[in-house]
């Protein structure tokens, strides 16, 4: 079976994307702040869009593209929601610190 340029590039693409996933996941574990992790999730979604695109080209199942488009539109919502949490934490820092002196280290740096 011969492989075309396209096949090779798809292979390279998939390898790179998977490596990217893993790199991002590593950062997700390392953190160190919640913002870092949220960023990782956000990037993961963007990478996912790319992955779906490559996959659709590879399999010629273009139905999958709809998923990628929806992700492009909706995916950022999770980041927005998380950002809101971080913001809330920042805005309530004093209150939080007062309430639990011991606790604030937990969810942020």
């Amino acid at each position: 079976m011969d492989y075309s340029i396209l096949d090779y590039s798809i292979l390279i693409a998939q390898i790179l994307l998977i490596l990217s996933f893993i790199l991002v996941s590593i950062r997700l574990i390392i953190g160190p702040t919640l913002s870092d992790r949220i960023l990782c999730l956000d990037l993961l979604v963007t990478l996912g869009i790319g992955f779906i695109a490559v996959f659709a080209i590879k399999t010629k199942q273009y139905a999958y593209i709809d998923v990628a488009i929806a992700l492009g539109l909706i995916g950022f919502l999770a980041t927005v929601a998380f950002a809101r949490y971080v913001l809330w934490q920042g805005q309530n820092q004093l209150k939080l610190d007062e309430a639990h002196r011991a606790n604030s280290r937990d969810d942020k740096t």
Binding site: S25, I26, L28, L44, G48, Y64, A78, F82, D107
Partner: protein, 794 residues
């Protein structure tokens, strides 16, 4: 007969209104019913005499073979007559005794229900029908003992009676079930045909014990006797009727009935002899210690029941004859004595024998009634009690060593009863006038009519014993013993051994009577030295039950969600692993034949695993949530890799919305810092988690080894476009092939909306959410964030 039984229940419903209209005089009216029933049974007398038995069948629950089959033979007739006859006088007596009581109507209702149930017990041939009526007597007895319910003692006594007789009843039920299931019939009449077959059954002994448990608890045999004296908390008419004349005899009735079916075996004789004998001795011994008239009577009742049981244990025609006679005598004299005691209490205000005296002049009729009863109880000529005693001595003399022991016991017991009977009847009546709370005077006719009539009946029965012996007593005995017994009973049988023994008894009794106070002190000392009795035992049992219950419950129901979840998961692991081991249902994994995942598949799997790891190790909950997003992402990607775009799509959307809601909620929580498990907890959790996870993996792999039948999916693929006009098969399944699932599912979603709205909006008073929300709530949310632990003052 059906009407005879049911009429009591029906009239019971109207008793309160009758009382409402006629006051205490309703007693006279209500007495008409038992009187009519008495007359009815009397009218059946000839037929019973002629045909041995009347059988009446009413279908009830034919599909399980339970019917109202009434069976009127000698013994039931005797009991029915006693129940209705004494019942008549009790109704009248109660009117006098409880005159002015607010709940007299209720009392009548209970009494009538009891009477009806009791008639049901003695008339039923069907074991289950008998059981039903039997339990009804327990229930009504509970209500009657607790009639004076504001008193703790009454409540306790009622509960005690319920628990003890309830226990016996359940045992008896088991016995009946075994008996009927083994023989295929519920009908006593049929059981009688089995002869010795039942006694040869493997389960004979079990059946015997179970049925005897029912009889013993009901008839207050040691060690189940304690509820009976406590039942004296009930108003006296109850004591007289239920706890001496009738209900406690239900056990005796049952043993008499069972005698031909289960009786006359070694087990039977030993058990009944031993328990009956011991109950007799214990009864009289405790009775003598009492100073309360009713309690003395109660313990002698127990003793008499012991005597009856003992006689049934001894078996043989003579003993049965003695038992039947004694039963008749006892019902008459004990019912009378109780009513006398009640009258004394009603008039004098106390039952303390040490305080009573010299009432005979004030209450002459009552005195006569008391004397008649006491003479009968003492077994003195010419009352029926005498005949009974003669008869039982006669029966016991002739027997084997066991019978001789029983004879001695009987003599001692009778001697005591002689003494106590006179003590009860004479002490309050004779001597000097005691210092009583109320100045006594003769009670109304309602109070003395009953005891006097019963006393006179005892007298009449004594004189008419020869006639009775040839008629009703004969019939009663023959329906138990199947013989010609009782035909030659005479009030005066000449000077024979029983008479000698009677004289001996009386002599002993007289001595005891004279030494009464000393005997009482002795009994007191002995019982105090023992210091424990089943009555105390009951409290200990209840407290123990309560204790055990709390220990068990607290152990199982810890109140901690974590322990519940732990148990649940451990069970899940067991549910998977145990049968897998038992059936050797492990999957066979051929590692060589595994398809190698593509690079993308492997990569996504890796991402999922990293996500899982991140969730588990995360110190903060928010990090876990973000990592959860990663796992969800990976799962969505897997769906996509394996041809499920709709799933992937939905998974992404749901994941996003979950995160939105999670973050929304998290902004309202001020959480404690890291909540990692302690070392041991972590180990346990890990072990359980690994067991659950690996078990499910193995199970899943095992399932995958089978060939999947694709019939359903093939159908969907085939008809999706052609008949359902849709090309996205998954969607067609959702909105057409399996639209009902979807309908249910949107119902869930809709309901969840309602529920969450309720959950957030609905707060207990004082916690209502703030009104007038500002425009941009998102910025304001933190301002109103929930109070923290410290702020709320916890």
């Amino acid at each position: 007969m059906l009407l005879a039984v049911l009429s009591g229940f029906i009239l019971a419903m109207f008793a309160p209104s009758l009382k409402h209209f006629f006051g205490y005089r309703a007693g006279w009216l209500l007495a008409i019913l038992p009187a009519a029933i008495f007359v009815y049974f009397l009218s059946q007398y000839d037929q019973v005499m002629a045909n041995k038995a009347i059988f009446e069948y009413h279908p009830w629950i034919p599909s399980i073979g339970i019917n109202l089959t009434f069976y009127l033979d000698g013994i039931s007739l005797l009991f029915a007559l006693l129940i209705s006859g004494i019942g008549t006088f009790i109704m009248i007596y109660a009117g006098g005794y409880l005159k002015g009581h607010v709940h007299l109507g209720r009392f009548y209702a209970f009494m009538l229900m009891f009477m009806a149930s009791m008639l049901g017990v003695v008339l039923s041939s069907n074991l289950m029908a008998l059981f039903v009526f039997w339990e009804l007597t327990s229930v009504t007895s509970f209500l009657l003992i607790g009639f004076d319910h504001l008193r703790k003692a009454a409540r306790r006594a009622a509960l005690q009676a319920l628990i003890v007789t309830g226990f016996g009843g359940l045992a008896m039920l088991a016995g009946f079930v075994i008996l009927s299931a083994s023989t295929g019939t519920f009908e006593m009449v049929d059981l009688l045909q089995y002869g010795n077959a039942i006694k040869d059954m493997d389960l004979y002994f079990v059946v015997l014990i179970l049925i005897l448990l029912g009889a013993f608890t009901k008839s207050a045999q040691f060690p189940f006797h304690f509820w009976l004296p406590n039942a004296m908390e009930a108003p006296t008419p109850v004591s007289a009727y239920l706890h001496s004349a009738t209900m406690v005899k239900a056990g005796i009735y049952l043993m008499m009935r069972m005698y031909p079916i289960l009786g006359d075996t070694v087990e039977w004789s030993i058990i009944l002899g031993a328990f009956g004998g011991f109950t007799l001795l214990a009864g009289v011994f405790i009775a003598i210690r009492q100073t309360d008239l009713k309690l003395m009577l109660a313990y002698t009742t127990m003793a008499s029941l012991g005597l009856l049981t003992m006689l049934l244990g001894a078996g043989g025609e003579g003993a049965i004859e003695g038992a039947v006679l004694y039963l008749l005598a006892h019902s008459l004299f004990k019912g009378g004595l109780f009513m006398v005691a009640g009258t004394i209490y009603h008039e004098a205000g106390t039952l303390d024998i040490t305080k009573l005296g010299g009432l005979w002049a004030k209450m002459p009729i009552t005195f006569v009634a008391a004397m008649l009863a006491a003479l009968s109880m003492g077994g003195i000529l010419p009352l029926v009690g005498f005949v009974a005693k003669e008869s039982l001595y006669h029966a016991l003399i002739s027997g084997d060593p066991l019978a001789l022991i029983l004879l001695v016991v009987a003599i001692i017991g009778n001697a005591f009863m002689f003494a106590i009977g006179f003590a009860v009847a004479l002490k309050p009546m004779l001597g000097k006038i005691g210092d009583t709370p109320k100045a006594a005077q003769e009670g109304s006719i309602m109070l003395w009519l009953g005891p006097l009539t019963l006393g006179l009946c005892g007298l009449a029965a004594g004189f008419g014993i020869t006639y009775l012996g040839q008629s009703i007593i004969h019939n009663a005995i023959s329906s138990i013993g199947n013989a010609n017994a009782g035909t030659n009973l005479h009030l005066w049988a000449g000077f024979n051994t029983p008479l000698m023994l009677s004289l001996l008894t009386m002599a002993l009794g007289a001595i005891i009577y004279m030494l009464f106070d000393r005997m009482r002190n002795f009994a007191d000392a002995v019982l105090n030295w023992i210091g424990w009795g089943p009555d105390k035992g009951f409290d200990q049992f209840m407290a123990g039950l309560l204790y055990l219950s709390q220990i068990v419950t607290n152990r199982l129901q810890t109140g901690q969600l974590r322990s519940y979840l732990r148990s649940t998961f451990i069970l899940l692991a067991l549910v998977i692993w145990l049968p897998m081991i038992a059936y050797d249902a492990f999957p066979t994994i051929d590692f060589g034949a595994l398809t190698i995942p593509t690079f993308s598949e492997a990569g996504i799997l890796t991402v999922a695993v990293i996500g899982l790891y991140a969730i588990l190790v995360a110190r903060s909950r928010l990090t876990s949530i973000v990592s959860l997003g990663v796992v969800g992402f990976a799962v969505a990607m897997l769906f996509m890799l394996f041809g499920a775009p709709d799933l992937s799509y939905t998974q992404f959307m749901v994941e996003t919305l979950s995160v939105v809601i999670l973050a929304l909620v998290m902004t309202r929580l001020h959480l404690d810092k890291a909540d990692q498990k302690t070392g041991l907890e972590a180990v346990v959790a890990t072990v359980v988690a690994v067991a659950v996870g690996s078990g499910l993996t193995l199970l899943l792999l095992k399932v995958m080894e089978t060939q999947l039948d694709m019939k359903l999916s093939d159908f969907f693929i085939k008809f999706s476009a052609t008949l359902a006009h849709g090309h996205n098969i998954v969607n067609v399944i959702l909105v057409d092939f399996r639209a009902l699932d979807t309908l249910g599912e949107i119902s869930v979603v809709m309901t969840t909306g309602v529920v969450i709205l309720a959950l957030i909006n609905l707060r207990p008073k004082g916690q209502n959410k703030a009104k007038n929300k500002p425009e941009n709530a998102s910025e304001n949310a933190p301002k109103n964030a929930p109070k923290t632990l410290e702020e709320s003052g916890q």
